[in-house]
């Protein structure tokens, strides 16, 4: 054990001093590693922020992290597949949830008609008091007001739909849908608010009314289409999801966001793989420089390696020494790269305005403000890849150094 400590000490001394024999080369390599690591972390944080935004927007539009509904509702989202407003027992369960953010909604296909145009829409009945927590609709209003009570007689439509219907705030529209007996029900509503969605496509289809007003219109008093539950973080809803599945009434279907929208789920799952590929691509570019640096460093001291072999250093110790040199180089580069990444990400925590490409971002479902998202797992991944693959990449030059023939090495020029 003591001998191993001494070996470590001598290897560390040699490695550290050899590293600084050629300041310029080491400096260039450190710069390359630092920039590479910065690119890994910074770009990953930007991508993660963008995808997180896309997912958050997508989940907000579902809406909610978990939906509880009639088992046939997803296949046939008609008023016939409604469920009872939660009873006292189930309401008590929902109240006990950690997040306590939940609401009920009515969601039916409908037709909206202005004086000039008629369009098919999703008619959504919401509880005004709870909606802000779930979809953030009040904050999206660009004109008018939000609902004042569950019996409010107005509708809120998207700016794009208003354009299509050639109508505006304060005008009346007629909304038609079917009741559970397939009778057409219709009612005139005044447009009390116009919203601008983060995803403009939604503005054309989602029309909001107060929940109780819609229950009366559709003759479904005491019934809703969905119960929407929002957890603290969409990535960590499993415990909440399990709890709801176990305790929800058996005739209701509980589904998580990733089951409802498989596209979002695929995007979420793909992101981790994408980050890994990105990190590895950058590392591959780095590895050429790293191997070149090591090969040059070894080439320059072939005689010295012959000398330490002659003095009785085992080939394995020579291998360890070169690997240690590479590890030190990588660790310093990682330190610089991480520092650089933090120094550039932290000032952007309030968001990076990318409104010049807002249209393209909107097509991808992301907003025009990009919030870099730095996660511990991404930091760990970038650092682990660099150090593990870096050391692996260094094995070949180190092994070749350890296998040098001492006589040839000593006689080399």
């Amino acid at each position: 054990m003591a001998a191993h400590k001494l070996h470590f000490s001598v290897l560390l001394t040699l490695s550290w001093r050899n590293l600084w024999r050629n300041h310029r080369r080491t400096g260039i390599m450190l710069g390359a590693i630092a920039v590479g690591v910065w690119a890994m972390i910074f770009m990953t944080a930007l991508m993660r922020g963008m995808v997180d935004d896309m997912l958050s927007q997508g989940i907000r539009n579902l809406p909610g992290h978990i939906q509880i509904q009639h088992p046939d509702f997803l296949d046939d989202p008609s008023v016939a597949n409604s469920i009872a407003v939660p009873g006292a027992e189930f309401e008590a369960l929902l109240q006990r949830l950690e997040s306590k953010r939940w609401t009920t909604r009515i969601r039916v296909p409908a037709v909206i008609a202005s004086e000039r145009e008629t369009r098919g829409i999703n008619l959504i009945g919401i509880e005004p008091a709870a909606e802000d927590d779930v979809s953030g609709l009040p904050a999206l209003l660009s004109e008018g007001r939000f609902f004042e009570s569950p019996l409010d007689g107005g509708v809120i439509i998207g700016a794009k739909l208003a354009e299509r219907l050639e109508t505006r705030l304060g005008k009346r529209v007629v909304v038609m849908s079917q009741d559970p007996d397939n009778n057409i029900r219709e009612r005139g509503f005044r447009i009390v608010g116009i919203y601008r969605a983060r995803l403009p496509g939604l503005e054309e289809f989602n029309v909001y009314a107060a929940r109780d007003t819609l229950q009366r219109l559709l003759r479904i008093e005491g019934r809703v289409s969905q119960i929407i539950v929002v957890g603290e973080d969409y990535r960590e809803i499993e415990p909440l999801y399990r709890q709801l599945r176990q305790q929800a009434p058996p005739d209701l279907q509980v589904r998580a966001w990733y089951e409802i929208d498989t596209y979002l789920a695929a995007m979420f799952n793909m992101m981790d793989g994408f980050v890994l590929v990105w990190v590895i691509i950058i590392f591959l570019a780095l590895s050429f420089g790293l191997v070149n640096t090591l090969v040059m460093a070894i080439f320059e001291r072939v005689r010295e390696i012959g000398l330490i072999q002659a003095l009785g250093m085992r080939p394995a110790l020579i291998l360890y020494q070169i690997l240690m040199e590479s590890t030190l180089l990588l660790l310093i580069g990682l330190g610089l790269g991480n520092g650089l990444a933090l120094a550039t990400i932290i000032p952007l925590q309030d968001g990076l305005d990318i409104s010049v490409v807002a249209e393209g971002m909107a097509m991808m479902g992301a907003s025009s403000m990009l919030y870099p998202k730095l996660t511990a797992s991404d930091l760990l991944l970038a650092n682990s890849v660099v150090i593990l693959l870096g050391v692996l990449t260094s094995i070949l030059p180190a092994w070749r150094a350890a296998k040098l023939d001492p006589v040839r090495a000593l006689n080399s020029t």
Partner: protein, 227 residues
């Protein structure tokens, strides 16, 4: 030290299409405490014999024994251990590790051997003083003259009391004063510490210190005389 026996050592090298004979059926025995000079012109086989005895090079055929140890049959790791614990080397040039100070160079072998730090430092300072380098312990090789560097190399070669010191043209890069100083040092270490020296040289000033002179030519020993 156990005697070194070389029996029918042969070694050839390929240089382009040409086969060069390094050692041609060499038989030699070196007893403990001897001060042997291998002399002969360039290409006579002195360095090849030295490298074979030191386990730096493997003969094509023949045997090298140090006591019961068959040096020619050891694998690389075991050869390194044998050199570490039994043999000190002094080369013609490029003897020191440039990134280490004189003291660290001397301590290097002891450090690999696993000698504790305090003991290493004590021994290194003492031996550097003995070779006349007191006060220069913390200088890097580039800050020392050629003669001083060779003395550091000698200090490193003998600090852990090896059985055998192999020196290959140790005075080739030294002026006559430094060479005389170095050879005086070798002779004194041989006499006072009983360390066996085998020195490959074609420098007559060095041969004058030898108590046994082995002359080589074309890979063969052509004379072996006590002086």
């Amino acid at each position: 030290m156990s005697a070194i026996h070389c029996h029918q050592l042969c070694k050839t090298f390929r240089q382009g299409d040409e086969i060069i004979t390094g050692l041609d059926h060499v038989d030699i025995t070196i007893e403990g405490g001897e001060f042997v000079c291998l002399s002969g012109p360039s290409g006579s086989g002195k360095t090849t014999l030295l490298n074979a005895i030191g386990g730096l090079d493997t003969p094509d055929s023949g045997e090298i024994r140090m006591g019961d140890l068959r040096i020619d049959q050891l694998e690389r790791g075991a050869l390194a251990d044998m050199r570490l614990h039994h043999i000190g080397f002094v080369f013609q040039a490029y003897n020191l590790i440039p990134v280490l100070s004189a003291r660290e160079n001397v301590e290097f072998v002891m450090q690999v051997q696993g000698v504790a730090a305090a003991e290493r430092a004590r021994k290194a300072r003492a031996i550097l003083a003995e070779v006349g380098l007191e006060g220069l312990e913390d200088r890097r090789p580039a800050q020392l003259s050629g003669g001083q560097q060779q003395r550091v190399a000698v200090a490193r070669a003998i600090v852990s009391q090896p059985d055998l010191v192999l020196a290959d043209e140790p005075t080739a890069n030294l002026d006559s004063v430094a060479a005389a100083h170095l050879m005086g040092l070798f002779a004194s270490l041989n006499e006072n510490h009983g360390i066996t020296f085998v020195i490959a040289t074609h420098d007559k000033r060095v041969m004058a210190y030898a108590r046994r002179l082995v002359k080589m030519q074309d890979g063969k020993i052509i004379s072996d005389e006590a002086q």
